[in-house]
Amino acid sequence: MGSSSLEMNDVQTTDEIIELLKNKYPILRTHTYQIALDKEIINENTPVTTGQVLALLPPYAGG
């Protein structure tokens, strides 16, 4: 999928962002990923504020 970034306004939570992304990129509905907010893995819906960075991380393959 490569890496790309976009800015979002008027969103309150990580779940809202993920839902918007799934609508924009339907491929996300069938792929596995972890979510990092400001470089920390999160496992539940989390409030977001201006300037925070959300990243969708596919399964790792380092080493």
């Binding site: 990092a36 990243a55 596919p58 790792y60 380092g62 080493g63």
Partner: protein
Amino acid sequence: MSEHKIRTIFIEGPITGNFVGEKISHHMNKTDIGGHSIFLGQVRADVINGKTVSGIEYSAYTDMALEVMHKIRQDLFDKYDLTCMHIYHSLGLVKTGENSLFVFTSSKHRAPAIKSCEECVERIKKELPVWGKEIFEDQSHIWKVNN
């Protein structure tokens, strides 16, 4: 324990034998060290659906990876009596037979060096946001997934 600075672990391209040798020889003046442990990850020519892997192209979420690596390093220094620890990971293309990961731990005695080296490799595989595109000989690719 002492605080360690966040430093990069990433190297463009493969980790060469010369590089590894130099890093080892840098420790000759540290005469409190009694044992080193080294892990080298190597790119394997896997055959997937009849096609042979010719190399892996690595990419990373580097800012996050360096923070995660910093945490792993601190945890291991807290847990084991280590003299030093060095970690290098390739980015970009690494061909089959070449090395892409170099973990190097040193201690007064062998046990902390060996145990921390193994634990470090396992945590890198599990926790570091690094990805690898397995490139086949016909230039097609798939995304690698760690087991």
